[in-house]
């Protein structure tokens, strides 16, 4: 269990968490990016404009 950095609520994490993965906070809905897994470190996931092609 780790705290949501937006609302402070506990965030449930699955076992095979990967760096770069985005998890949603079930309480406030914030998108959190996994910066590290051992120990788990979360930060607000950046908004990234999606483009239709490169």
């Amino acid at each position: 269990m780790t705290e949501c950095i937006e609302c402070g609520a506990d965030v449930t994490l699955h076992d095979d968490l990967e760096v770069g993965e985005i998890v949603d906070c079930a309480t406030c809905g914030a998108e959190l990016e996994v910066l590290g897994t051992d120990p788990v470190e979360l930060d607000t996931a950046p908004e990234l404009e999606e483009d239709w092609g490169e």
Partner: protein
Amino acid sequence: MTVVVKIGGARAVNPEGALADIAELDEDCVVVHGGSTAVDDTLDAMGTEPEYVETPSGVVGRFTDEETMDVFKMALPGLVNTDLVTGLQNAGVDAVGLSGVDGGLLTGKRKSAVRVVEDGKKKIRRGDHSGTIQDVNADLLDTLLASGYTPVASPPMLAEGTAVNTDADRAAAAVAGALGATLVVLTDVEGVYADPDDPSTRIESVETPAEYDALTDAAEGFMTRKVMAATEALESGAREVVVASANAERPIVTALDAGG
């Protein structure tokens, strides 16, 4: 009038029809090319797998890490561009190759992080070398055209001091917009059909917002990108956009006749 011709960059596609056509055009001409298959072939020759990622909305695109970016430079401004310029020189066209980095031809903002979906998981991938064109150095193209040269341009573009990948159809659109030119997009497919099962419903050109709304509705699969690029070209100042088959005997003249 200036014509911007977007051609594929695949070596397998024989561009000779297009090259001979360019030699006979009365109009000033700028050629823009891609070369994604040449990038994949070169990666393959080096024993590396190309990496494609899918965005949350389902768009599949290349993930261009630093090593892939070096291969991209080798394949596009290196192999494909040099071969095209050589072919044009042999066809009597005084072609000059340019990448988007040359003279800041294609500049804009870099996107180094992308949201992707892998195995159903949302992820952020960092280290991508891609960007979105915001400015075209039309002066460089005008300078060369005024002296009788035919610019042959391709990605990469220059973003925040780094050469990065950008879509070649959109690059052609940006160039056509900046020059107020007619854009001829040559493709291996026969075009966009209002009814894909009925060859007589091919949409040959778009000149009005209503027409390209119809085109957008009709475009499917990978053609979507070409239509989006056509939309960008028109919105940024291109006179007209023609999406046409590269396999016609005189593909550009045919496209201009159909579009004009």
